[in-house]
């Protein structure tokens, strides 16, 4: 039932991208943090790709808050793309969207660099 979470790091013209797939819940913490650290070895913006994230619950939101807290501590800009309309709404309601710019897709995110 539950799709395993995976996070990998890809390079784009807009900077490193943490590509997520599967369920974003508390179990995603370790993998997401590892990918974030890998993607942020250099200074600069980091992109979060939620295209493959099929389910995000409150414990997953807590994990993302943890990532945003790390980024904030090192003054790093975080941007996201690939969220469904619903999760975009959730990110607005929880105000996560106040702390990372959300783009429709990767093209828009890269172009906005």
């Amino acid at each position: 039932m539950e799709s395993l979470f995976e996070a990998t790091v890809a390079e784009s013209d807009g900077g490193p991208v943490v590509v997520m797939s599967g369920t974003v819940n508390r179990a995603a913490k370790e993998a997401l943090e590892a990918a974030y650290h890998e993607a942020t070895s250099e200074p600069g913006r980091v992109l979060l790709d939620f295209s493959g994230a099929d389910y995000i619950n409150s414990t997953g939101i807590a994990v993302i808050v943890g990532i945003l807290a790390m980024a904030r501590a090192e003054d790093r800009v975080v941007a996201a793309f690939g969220l469904t309309d619903h999760y975009r709404e959730v990110f607005n309601i929880t105000r996560l969207a106040d702390f990372m710019t959300i783009y429709d897709d990767e093209t828009a995110a890269v172009a906005a660099r």
């Binding site: 039932m1 539950e2 369920t23 819940n25 179990a27 389910y55 619950n57 409150s58 414990t59 939101i61 807590a62 994990v63 808050v65 943890g66 945003l68 807290a69 904030r72 501590a73 469904t84 309309d85 619903h86 709404e89 959730v90 309601i93 929880t94 105000r95 996560l96 106040d98 702390f99």
Partner: protein, 529 residues
């Protein structure tokens, strides 16, 4: 006031009759004799243009008499920018000769050089003292603000069937306002609003003490009047003289909607009912004034849709530019009107700002606590009777990830009903979070305990009921998460579940039977989103 120093010949060695006189012992330092402002001598010295001999001087002046009595023969005024900064008092010359013209010229020249330096030194000293005082006040305000910010609730309780909101804005001088929410047994909630007389650090310290006393007493007593009486007894010997605390304490039975309250001289709470605004009156003296004070205790049953507004006097006693006070009647009439989005806090604050003018410096702390009953147990019971058509009933074991089973099954049942996709997604998230809460809090994550899910539909709405088996921890009060504090690492990043549930559906209700909780999620079938 002029400070002076004078050297004078001694007639006799004061401490030892056997000691041989030395040149030093012929002189002595005597106490400075001030020339009070406005004394004729001051006028004379200011206009003299140089040293003034006292031997033949005739002037009606008390200061002159004292100075002459001390043996002074010559005064050399120190004048800077038309101001008498000081003076040198000289006794007779050691040679007993009168002061010569040359002596006077020399002394006058010396004075004209000393006076500007004295003026500068005086200004520097004044500025240093002022800067020190400003720094002290600034630091005191910072400490006071820090104490208050640390002790005010970081999050608001989110209780199914209730909406709680609060607002606090300190004045520049930081008054002693405070509010608090105290979780009690059996789903009851203690609500406190108070105001310490005075401002700054003293008020903040009394506020901190009072808050701790209230929290402790609230756990010992089930009656608000007993809590206030207890705190009063404890506070009387501790509080500085001329300080006291006004405070209202209410206990809300969140299941029954019953409110019991006592008031120690604080602004009366207002409740907007279907028939208009009422005041909740209970009498009692402010805390900390006198021992053995009785506190009246009253109760009120809050109906669904009613809203209670608690305020501090920083609101009612705020002034407009013409000096008119905002007052109780204006507050009452604002409370009487249903605000847009049911946001009473924003409505009152906006009304107050329109009254005072937005750019005016706030006179006192402003505190507002709003408690609204969004649905009652009776409503819930009626809903339970009006169950509509049950579409599906199932259980899932309390194992992490099983909320997805519940979501998928609820989705399968609902899709044919034609709920629009946005509302469907919201309901799915609410179902997932509610089932997770039931597993984690209600069933303590014990896999052998299952979570019951029932999906039903009426013509107007879809209702999903999620029931735990009880025995676990009670479902905590949800708080509106403070994202800034979470990002700053001051709070756990968790704590989003109940907040999300409330945001996702049109209504959330809860009931309890035995130890088991049922959370009812209601999603209207027609809606803009």
């Amino acid at each position: 006031m002029v400070q002076v120093m004078k050297r004078r010949r001694t007639e006799k060695e004061p401490s030892s009759a056997t000691a041989a006189p030395t040149p030093e012992s012929k002189t002595r330092l005597i106490e400075a004799i001030p020339v009070p402002p406005g004394d004729p001598l001051e006028t004379l010295l200011l206009s003299s243009g140089g040293p003034v001999g006292l031997r033949d001087l005739e002037l009606e002046s008390e200061a002159l008499a004292s100075i002459r009595g001390a043996g002074v023969e010559l005064i050399v005024p120190l004048i800077g920018q038309g101001e008498l900064l000081g003076a040198l008092y000289l006794g007779p010359r050691l040679s007993d000769q009168p002061y010569s013209t040359d002596d006077r010229r020399l002394l006058g020249s010396l004075a004209s050089q000393v006076a500007p330096a004295m003026k500068v030194a005086q200004l520097v000293r004044e500025q240093q003292a002022e800067a020190k005082e400003r720094e002290r006040i600034h630091q005191e305000l910072q400490v006071a603000a820090l104490i208050q910010q640390t002790l005010l609730p970081k999050e608001l309780p989110a209780i199914p069937g209730w909406h709680v909101d609060a607002f606090y804005r300190p004045a520049r001088a930081v008054g002693g306002d405070f509010y608090d929410f105290i979780g009690l047994d059996d789903g009851r909630l203690g609500v406190v609003i108070g105001d310490v007389t005075d401002k700054g650090v003293p008020a903040a310290l009394v506020m901190a003490t009072c808050r701790s006393m209230l929290r402790a007493a609230a756990q010992r007593h089930t009656s608000p009047s007993a809590v206030l009486a207890d705190v009063n007894e404890a506070l009387v010997p501790e509080i500085p003289p001329a300080m006291f605390v006004t405070c209202l304490y209410a206990i809300i039975d969140t299941e029954a909607g019953e409110l019991v309250f006592a008031n120690a001289g604080h602004n009366l709470p207002y409740v907007r009912t279907a028939d208009g605004v009422i005041e909740l009156r209970a009498t009692g003296m402010p805390l900390g004034l006198m021992p053995a004070m009785p506190y009246d205790e009253k109760s009120y049953s809050m109906a669904s849709g009613e809203v209670m507004v608690l305020t501090s006097d920083g609101i009612t006693e705020a002034h407009d530019p013409d000096g008119e006070m905002y007052g109780f009647s204006r507050l009452m009439s604002r409370v009487a009107r249903k605000p847009s989005n049911d946001d009473m806090v924003a409505a009152v604050v906006r009304d107050l700002e329109e009254f005072t003018g937005a750019d005016v410096e706030q006179e006192d702390d402003i505190t507002l606590v709003v408690v609204r009953r969004t649905s009652s147990a009776q409503d819930s019971a009626e809903t339970f009777e009006d169950t509509g058509r049950v579409l599906d009933t199932f259980t899932v074991a309390s194992e992490e990830g099983n909320e997805r089973i519940a979501i998928d099954r609820v989705t399968a049942v609902i899709v044919p009903l034609g709920l629009n996709s946005s509302r469907l997604e919201r309901l799915k998230t609410a179902v997932g979070e509610t089932v997770m809460n039931a597993m984690e809090h209600g069933n303590d994550n014990r896999p052998e305990l299952d979570v019951g899910v029932e999906v039903s539909a009426t013509e107007q709405s879809i209702i999903v009921r999620v029931t735990d088996r009880g025995g676990g921890r009670p479902i905590p009060e949800a708080m509106t998460p403070d994202l800034e504090a979470k990002l700053a690492g001051e709070q756990t990043p968790r704590g989003w579940g109940l907040f999300l549930i409330e945001q996702m559906v049109d209504d959330v209700r809860s009931t309890r039977e035995g130890g088991a909780h049922t959370i009812e999620l209601i999603m209207n079938r027609e809606g803009s989103t």
